[in-house]
């Protein structure tokens, strides 16, 4: 059985100042935000901005999206930002009963907010509605865990 090491474990074991890694990736302080949106006949393709603009360098640890049955015949929700609308949660049906969805995209876990492209900021978490949304109503609750230092 082979034993190998993650990127940060490799830095830890190598030691020395040259192996300093980014704040929050070790002994990180976990912070959170909560936001809520009441859906009322929202049309497909609506972008819902949730929570504050996160500070540069924030690393995303978890995203929890819990909703009523928001109806509209299989209405889907995706969670990401303006650079990648489904960076954290891929489009998931929230229109057939109440549903709780968590971060499910590998590239989203530990993603660092970098603001690479000003026109498509990645510091604002968004929910994007998709599929059929006719008659869509209900409550969306969201919690995001992140670290920076």
């Amino acid at each position: 059985m082979a034993t190998v090491k993650g990127v940060n474990k490799t830095l830890i074991d190598a030691g020395g100042l040259s192996n300093k890694f980014e704040q929050g990736y070790l002994d990180g302080r976990v912070k959170c935000f909560f936001d809520q949106y009441e859906v009322s006949s929202t049309v497909s393709g609506t972008v819902i901005e949730m929570g504050p603009e996160l500070p540069l360098g924030s690393k995303i640890l978890e995203v929890i999206l819990s909703t009523d049955d928001i109806g509209g015949s299989s209405t889907t929700l995706a969670v990401g930002d303006l650079e990648d609308p489904d960076r954290y949660i891929s489009a998931t049906n929230h229109g057939d009963g109440s549903v709780t969805t968590r971060l499910n995209k590998p590239d989203g876990l530990g993603y660092e907010v970098d603001m690479t492209t000003a026109a498509t900021p990645d510091n604002q978490i968004t929910i994007t509605t998709g599929a059929s949304t006719s008659g869509t109503t209900g409550t969306i609750n969201m919690v995001v865990f992140y670290t920076k230092d």
Binding site: Y37, G45, E49, P52, T139
Partner: protein
Amino acid sequence: MATVKGVNKTKIDAGGLSNKISQGYIDGRVKTFFDQYEFAGELLATVVEVGPELPLGAKILEVVLSTDDLGNNVTLIVGDAEDPNRYITSTDHGGGTVLTTRLNAPDGLGYEIDMTTASTPDNQILVTTATAAATGTMNIEVKYTKD
């Protein structure tokens, strides 16, 4: 394509003291408690109190319930005296395998402890059994924020 905003995002963008957001909802410090209970054939409808009485204003962020196979198709719910399944709806934890269940009730995510009714306090997390007698270990972790 329309763009709309969450309740707290609206307050942030509007600015001003009138748009104060409850502590913990932005840049909240995440706290946690863990508790464990060993079921030894308790009868159905046993209520297990877990963890401390949470402070007024605490907001629940996540509940993780992980158990052995408790046997006899025992179901568990997680909530409090005011709403016994506020956080986790009835789930079979005795179906022949170990199981981990997480917060799955929309109204529980971000719920704020308010102690509205003294006779049914919402600051004490409860796990309630149903269906049959339970045997085995139950672990629970709750994440919350207050400030």
